[in-house]
Structure formats: C-alpha cells, structure tokens
Symmetry: C2
Subunit: 246 residues, 2 copies
C-alpha cells in the first residue's frame, strides 16, 4: 500500500480525530449526496447502535429499579428520531422505555419513527415533571436525544432550555446521544448537563475530547474513503460489533 502523507493508514497509531461542527456537516452531506445513504437508513443504524450502547453501559441485570424503565427525551429533529429508534430497539432488548417528545416534527420521515414506537406500545409522556424526584424515582436512567450536531447548543430555545434545567438536577444517570444537549460543540463543557455516558455517532465531536465518563463510538458503516478523507483514524471495532468503548 502506498502511504502518502495526506492519506494516513487507519492501522497506524494516529490518534482518533474529534470533529468540528463544520466537519460533521460536511461528512453527513457527503454521505447523503455522494454516497446516497438515506436519512431513514442512517437514523435506523444510529438509533440501533445507541440502544446497544445503553445495554453495555446499563445492562438489564444492573438496574436498581424493579422495572427496567428508561426515559428517552427526544428533540424535534434528527437527534430526536435517533432517540425514537433507540427506544424501539431498547423495547426489543426488553427494557421499558418511555418517551418524552415535546415538539413533534411534521416531517413524514420523523413521524414514521413516532408511529413505529406508538405501535410498539411505548408510552409517550405529555409533560416532563419539574419535580426531579419524580424522575429519579420512576426511571433507571435518562437518554438525552434532544439536540444533535445540527442544533444551536449555545442559544437553546424553549421548551428545551427548561428541560435542560430539569435534567441538570436529576440524580439518575444520563446517556447523551452524539452531543450532550446544550454543550458548545466545538469546546469543552463548562456548566451544562453532566451525562455519565456519551454515545458518539460515526466519529466523536470536539466537545467530547475531554469527556471523562463512559464514551462509546457507535454506528459502524462509514465508507473507508470518508474515513481516510477526514483522517478519522477510527479504532478497530471488535468482531461484528456496531460500537466500541473508547
């Protein structure tokens, strides 16, 4: 193989790259336009991988509550749909997810994922209790699938700003999907929510570089040419696993 300096081999010990918001957008645009991946397809891959990550971080046997309850908080766009798919697969893995999805998307892409959850008898909360003790008592963990890399995390709008105030106070563990909601994507967190688990999708984002919790890289499908072009230096996933703990 010809190793030019512009194309580092993933097998060398080059460090994993942490992507800027612009790089994330460029990769996603390339996947959709050049590689002709579909949004439905990517959301399914990512949501499934998130559910598998949750089973690794919080195995059924490790949960404290009598029922394996999980609260999945979903935002209005793609990150929220990934949360919906995650909830559906968690149900298949015998967890008991409940979804809080305060602003439903009107896009049929996202609505289809809602129906899939509804028809799986996954309950939807009509509001999030502001009394955090109620959340601590009812659920083993919370999944933050609110704001993804495409969202503005520095100026969070309602109802999400208030939801983040609540989530900052909960005592049960939280897992964030791709980006902890409200964190500046390109910098380390200062005073946002504090997830125990971060599930980075495809490649980690800059804000995750100093994340000190359990960190998974999930979603194993990225074409080798994209991995090379963006010098991602992804680690080797074991066997057929769809994720790896970093």
């Amino acid at each position: 193989m010809n190793h030019s300096s512009s194309e580092p081999d993933a097998e060398t010990a080059e460090p994993l790259r942490y992507l800027s918001k612009d790089e994330v957008a460029a990769i996603e645009s390339e996947l959709l336009k050049d590689y002709r991946f579909g949004r439905q397809q990517l959301i399914e891959i990512w949501g499934h991988a998130c559910a598998v990550a949750v089973t690794k971080a919080f195995p059924l046997g490790s949960l404290n509550k009598k029922q394996p309850t999980v609260l999945v908080v979903c935002g209005p766009n793609q990150n929220g749909s990934i949360g919906l798919v995650c909830a559906r697969h968690l149900r298949i893995f015998e967890y008991e997810p409940t979804i809080f999805y305060p602003k439903r998307s009107t896009e049929s892409l996202h609505q289809d994922f809602i129906v899939q959850c509804e028809k799986m008898d996954i309950p939807f909360l009509s509001y999030l209790p502001t009394e955090v003790q109620l959340i601590n008592d009812a659920y083993n963990l919370v999944i933050d699938a609110i704001l993804g890399p495409d969202a503005d995390h520095t100026d969070v709008k309602e109802p999400y700003a208030n939801i983040l105030v609540t989530l900052k106070q909960i005592k049960i563990p939280m897992a964030s999907v791709d980006v902890p909601s409200g964190w500046d994507m390109d910098e380390a967190n200062t005073d946002g929510i504090n997830p125990e688990v971060l599930i980075s999708l495809t490649a980690p984002k800059k804000c995750a570089a100093r994340f000190s919790g359990k960190h998974f890289l999930a979603g194993r499908f990225l074409p080798y040419d994209i991995q090379k072009k963006y010098e991602l230096n992804l680690p080797e996933f074991p066997g057929t696993d769809c994720l790896i703990e970093l």
Copy 2:
C-alpha cells in the same frame, strides 16, 4: 397474563411457525402500512443481519482461499437490495465481496443501495462465468440474494434461470437469503439449488421447514403485536444479537 388459545405466549414451548407466501406478504404489508416502517429501513436491517449471519457461518479465519472473497448474486427486487446491503456490511467486516447484479432496478430505492456499494469500491461483475470452476476458484462462497418471497419461484425467468443452472453446479458453499432461489416457497425443495446456509428473515418460510443445513433466523425488530397476531413463536434472541441459529 391472560393466555387465550388464540394468543400463545412466546415463552411457552409452542413451535416456531413456518410462514406461507400469503402470510409473508400480509406481515410485510402490515409493517409498511400500519407500523410505518420504510423499505429502506427494513432492507438495511435485513441486509446487515445477513452479513452478520455470513460471519457466523463462514468466519474470516475459516476461509480456504488466500483472500476472503465472497460472490453476492443479486436479483432485481427487494431480495437483491438486501444482498447489496449485505455486501456493504461484509466489506466493513473485512471480507472482499464481489457483486453480480445482472438486471439493475430502475427504482431509486434500489439504485441508492447500488451507489453505496460502488462508492465502497465493491466490484460488480459484468457477467457470471458459465464455467463453474472459475467461480469455485475465485470465491470462498456465494450468496444467493436473487429471488425473495415476493418472486415467482416456480417459473423463473432469464437471466435467473440460467444463473440457477450455474449455481446448482458450484462446489463452494452457498448461503441463501430468505428463500433459496427457485424453491417453491410453500413446499419442500425437490431439485433446486442446494445452499449450505439459509438466512430466514423475520420468520422462516414453509419451504425451510425441512431445511437440513445451517439455518439462521435474522432481523430482530418485529413488533410484539405482529409476533402474537401471526403466532410466530420466535425463539429468544441472545443478548443484543440480531440473529439466532435455529
């Protein structure tokens, strides 16, 4: 729980059901219309599960040839696209798939899956050698993703009839996706192709009831209500595995 005779509990020892062609069509229609699953989503789930099944049946370390080559033969419709997705994931799992896809679909759904493979540098054969020794020498195994449950297996048209004549003569192992191409779906096989491995998707079909090779049930996403309604009595999948060997 209330166990009525019309709703057997999957946990009892009721035998796995083998579905007729009409039942397969009814379930798929329900998934698409009532549950609002998308074809792209289902094909991704199934194709990925097929690739995982291939890694179980033919682990990289067990292959005889110097290169981990796999020939994936794809039909014109959904089964062919599942083959394309399978090939793509096999590439990610470090196999070297080659695709033979003699009649390309004009549907954009299927064309997107073609582009995804092309952009992953997976080679497409322009014709299938009629000299079977060339196939035996070049590949470790063949994946038959030609005709799915929606196809007419009793009156196979060209170019597939001729392809099946070739595949009947190969000496390397073959894995069929969902239904061995050319088998009558509702009856046991008499003189068709003879796959060593069958990857049943969602639920096995009647023709698989007396299949004597390695038999996988792959694709773990089916809503519980559908499992009950059609009395599928699916086995319990281990952990987060997307398949189980029957």
